[in-house]
């Protein structure tokens, strides 16, 4: 046993190393949810390589009384249930940390570390003795280790047992055996280890009314609230669960109880070209439509996106980003499609992007995207990523103003046409760059027009006249400027004292950045934060950049894509914007940001700071 042992209350990282398909996912989720029920914030993350033999998966839970939900890095307590990944897993434990494993089969001493406390429990043996059915032996093994863990971490047994009962509600027969397995693990741990370890979960009140949900599920609920009726998609990790989520929510909310009629249409298309084609056809025809995809899908949709931009057809795209280029690391996270989406397609194009930070905003922007798309008559991208999309995250409860109405934008009705409305499909009547449109079939003789990707005049007539072309693409710029005032405004986090140094970030970098800013503040380093939430950039962003002398642009891609967008679109001196990038496919951490910014601000005297309880 090691001499130095980590001890901490509600502030550590637990990681489960499992074999895919062993039924561990629900046990691990039970663990995370128990923490929340005890009032202790936590942030779990699934780590699932796409193509490694033996299909290992990891589930990492950051426990944080302070509510820091970004990945921390490092592991304090490893629950090692997959012999295949043993060596790497053991090596990743922090000095003074703990290793819990199935000790049924003895392992040579060389497989352990001196500076890590080893906690072996013969899980296989216990389950083989208790259960006959091989499937049960496997499934209950997971609950047994949750029981053991609950003892070691001093967790409240009652909370967990209540949760088990909730989890199996409706399948009540399963409650008692699961509770039994849980108790068995807890008791065996007590017999074997005697004492809990130094990492302690203590009841708290830091969760409040927060909810716990995956970003993809939240975004698809946003689509339901945003009035989407048509979803066309093609499976691709990590976006698949978004379309599946939409299916689930629609089944809950959009099926007529009496007739069984479905107030939605979901089509799994033959590819992403067809997905976006269907979205455009539906939106052209007045339905709210979206697709969900990831980088490779965006590439395929590119030609159609030019058409949508130029012919001015609404569309909503949820891009759940993953590490590219090409297949890249399909199960790893990045923010690497910012430029690909901002300028998607050939010719001069610019699109509208929204950057949600968590499931709350995934819902919020997911709904808002449909209003924006209809209002602006153009594609709108909701830029999620794997980290937000595929992990359950603690966030504010969703809100919906009962008086809120779907904003369909500028649509001319039959009545308006009858009353003499002068309809020109590309006529800028209001001076905001946005013209009026009609839905097909509106009126027998008025309001029809021909939609095309070729150059058109203000009345949608084909033209190759240079002046008419310039007129229409310049109006699109004006419309883009209008978009600037409609996308969500940035959010600022001011340092304790006035400063000329800032950090600009967006999307899933948010939790790590918030924590890093707090760490910097504790160090006495003054750094203001700005979280961009939309593109085109709101005026406040430019003003904020102008107020600062040095700005770190923190993002999760190699090339500093948002930084490029800022310099290109706002005319900012690139020297002022320091790129700070993290792009190995793991979620960015506060440790990384804090280290990089500290080093940049005071290169001489930084000690790498480690937030390990000791």
């Amino acid at each position: 046993m090691s001499s130095r042992r980590l001890s901490a209350v509600n502030d550590f990282v637990v990681k489960f190393a499992n074999v895919n398909g062993s039924g561990s996912a629900s046990a691990n989720a039970l663990f995370a949810k128990s923490l929340l029920r005890m009032g202790v914030p936590c942030a779990p993350r699934n780590i699932f390589p796409s193509n490694i033999q033996g299909l290992p998966t990891w589930y990492e839970v950051r426990v944080s009384e302070a509510g820091w939900l970004g990945a921390r890095g490092g592991v304090d307590f490893m629950i090692q249930m997959n012999p295949q990944t043993w060596d790497k897993d053991v090596a990743s434990i922090e000095p003074g940390g703990y290793l819990f494993y199935d000790s049924t089969r003895a392992l040579p001493k060389s497989k352990f570390r001196d500076d890590v406390t080893t906690l072996g429990l013969p899980l296989t043996e216990i389950c083989n003795a208790a259960y006959k059915d091989p499937r049960q032996r496997q499934l209950f093994k997971n609950i047994v280790y949750v029981g053991a863990l609950s003892f070691l971490l001093s967790m409240d047994a009652e909370t967990i047992e209540t949760l088990i009962a909730e989890q199996f509600k409706g399948k009540d027969k399963l409650i008692a055996p699961n509770v039994e397995a849980f108790r068995m693990g807890r008791e065996r741990a007590k017999e074997t280890f005697g004492e809990p370890i130094g990492l302690v979960v203590r009841k708290s009140d830091q969760v409040g009314d927060k909810i716990f949900i995956e970003g993809n599920s939240a975004a698809s609920l946003g689509a339901v609230y945003g009035g989407a009726t048509v979803c066309a998609w093609y499976p691709i990790t990590p976006s698949t669960s978004l379309a599946e989520g939409f299916t689930r929510w629609c089944k809950k909310f959009r099926i007529d109880a009496a007739t069984g009629e479905q107030r939605f249409a979901i089509v799994q298309a033959e590819d992403e070209l067809a997905s976006i084609g269907m979205v455009l056809g539906a939106a052209w025809n007045g339905a709210r439509a979206f697709t969900s995809t990831s980088g490779p899908g965006i590439s395929l949709m590119s030609e159609f996106l030019g058409l949508a931009y130029f012919a001015e057809i609404p569309a909503v795209l949820f891009n759940v980003q993953r590490a590219g280029p090409s297949t890249g690391m399909p199960t790893r996270t990045q923010q690497c499609d910012v430029l690909a989406c901002a300028y998607a397609s050939h010719g001069d194009t610019k699109h509208v992007l929204l950057f949600p930070e968590d499931p709350y905003e995934a819902f919020e922007f997911g709904a808002q995207a449909f209003d924006l798309a209809d209002r602006l008559q153009t594609p709108v991208f909701v830029m999620l990523d794997l980290d937000i999309g595929m992990n359950e995250r603690l966030c504010k409860p969703f809100e919906w103003d009962p008086n809120r109405k779907l904003d369909r934008g500028k649509v001319v009705t039959a009545e308006m046409l009858e009353n003499g409305f002068e309809f020109g499909r590309y006529l800028d009547v209001d001076g905001d760059g946005i013209a009026y449109r009609t839905y097909p079939g509106t009126h027998p003789t008025k309001g029809a027009y021909f939609t095309r990707g070729s150059s058109h005049d203000r009345y949608a007539r084909y033209t190759e006249d240079g002046a008419a072309y310039v007129d229409s693409v310049e109006r699109l710029l004006k419309k883009h400027a209008t978009a600037r005032t409609l996308v969500p405004a940035p959010q600022m986090i001011d340092a304790a004292q006035p400063t000329k140094t800032g950090a600009l970030f967006y999307g899933s970098t948010s939790p790590a950045m918030q924590e890093a800013l707090s760490m910097l503040n504790k160090d006495g380093l003054q750094v203001d934060g700005l979280r961009a939430r939309g593109f085109p950039f709101a005026d406040e962003i430019k003003a904020w950049i102008e107020r600062h002398d040095q700005i770190f642009v923190v993002e999760q891609n190699r090339d500093g894509q948002l930084r490029t967008l800022l310099t290109a679109e706002l005319g900012i001196d690139p020297a002022k914007l320091v790129s700070m990038v993290h792009f190995d496919g793991s979620p960015i951490t506060a440790r990384f940001i804090h280290g990089a910014i500290s080093k940049a601000l005071q290169p001489a005297n930084v000690e790498p700071r480690r937030r390990i309880a000791s």
Binding site: I213, Y225, G277, A289, W400, P440, T442
Partner: protein, 351 residues
């Protein structure tokens, strides 16, 4: 009627249909295609077909891809909305449009390059998915708009204007549509309006995926000797299996029938398709039979035209999706947004 760009002569004697529309109301802007292009004849057939069917022109949505053929929706049905999309992708756009509003009639116009080359996948999936639409391929065996390259429907061995011989097997979209589950499949010839107009009418009334392959000679690039899509070749090799009359429920039956060779098909909307059979053994209800008949006639060097298959009880994508009878685009906040109370319940379930 103030918005038709074409000058309208209100000739008092211009015949009107029951809706009070003249044929002019079904026309489009003036064609910019080559004089004599087969595609223009098809546009004229569409105008006549819809006028005679007495469908209000704005109840049709016209969609197309890219090509000379795909330009034509501009040349008919001006009061209808049109969508000239991207090359080969009309089927997906039409699918989406149809999903949004099943109450309109969808008329897709495409070319052989558009549907058999770049858009072959989308063509296939629209058919197998059962999109309720009239899908017309204006088939000239070449890429007209890009000046005469072979398309994927060009017959093996046919000669291009520049003298090149096509070495690749030609795709027969009629064969494809039959095996992909289209429920109304026919072939016409732009030069035979009498056969073509009822074929289009039947397809527009059909409530399922209807495919019409219309041989449409390109006078600029594919009307020479050695071409198998020239007027002369098609005239000489056309083998019509039947002639069609479409009788909308309310009309008197006016056409004289050839005794003993008439087959009546009542479509779902009550309209009757009367098939005057020219090939006495031809059965338009036999999908497999149609496939082998086509193959057999092809070996004999013939281009079979007529209504090759019809399923009088078609189903479509909406039936599978169980969508309401009214268009999804008509649903309002109350039907779409679950509301604040439902959201509070969702929140509660996520704690």
């Amino acid at each position: 009627m103030s918005f038709l760009p074409k000058p309208k002569l209100h000739h008092p004697n211009l015949p009107t249909n029951k809706l009070g529309y003249t044929r002019r109301d079904y026309e489009g802007t003036i064609s910019t295609l080559c004089a004599g292009c087969g595609h223009d004849s098809i546009s004229a057939a569409i105008v006549q077909a819809v006028f005679e069917l007495e469908i209000e022109p704005h109840r049709i949505a016209k969609l197309s891809g890219i090509g000379c053929s795909s330009k034509t929706p501009n040349y008919f049905l001006n009061p209808a909305h049109g969508f000239n999309s991207v090359h080969g992708r009309m089927p997906s756009v039409a699918t989406g449009a149809n999903l949004a509003n099943r109450e309109l009639i969808y008329l897709g116009v495409s070319g052989d390059g558009d549907s058999a080359s770049i858009g072959f996948g989308q063509f296939a999936h629209a058919m197998r998915r059962g999109v309720d639409m009239c899908y017309i391929v204006e088939n000239n065996g070449v890429y007209g708009l890009t000046k005469g390259q072979f398309s994927a429907t060009a017959d093996r061995g046919s000669k291009s204007k520049k003298g090149q011989v096509n070495a690749d097997e030609g795709i027969d979209l009629v064969q494809m549509a039959l095996s992909l589950g289209a429920t109304y499949v026919g072939r016409g010839f732009s030069g035979d309006k009498e056969q073509l107009v009822p074929l289009i009418q039947g397809a527009l009334l059909h409530r399922g995926p209807a495919l019409l392959d219309v041989i449409s000679p390109c006078v600029a690039f594919n009307n020479h000797e050695g071409s198998t899509r020239s007027f002369d070749w098609v005239r000489a090799h056309n083998e019509a299996v039947n002639r069609l009359d479409v009788i909308v429920g309310r009309d008197e039956i006016v056409h004289a029938q050839e005794p003993g060779t008439v087959d009546e098909v009542t479509q779902h909307d009550g309209s009757v398709l009367r098939l005057r059979k020219l090939a006495p053994d031809y059965d338009a209800h036999d999908r497999d039979g149609a496939i082998s008949y086509l193959a057999e006639r092809k070996r004999a060097g013939e281009i079979v035209t007529g209504l090759l298959f019809v399923d009088p009880e078609p189903s479509d994508l909406h039936a599978a999706l169980r969508t309401p009878a009214a268009g999804l685009n008509r649903l309002g906040d109350a039907e779409l947004v679950p509301g604040a109370a439902a959201l509070a319940a969702v929140n509660a379930s996520l704690r």
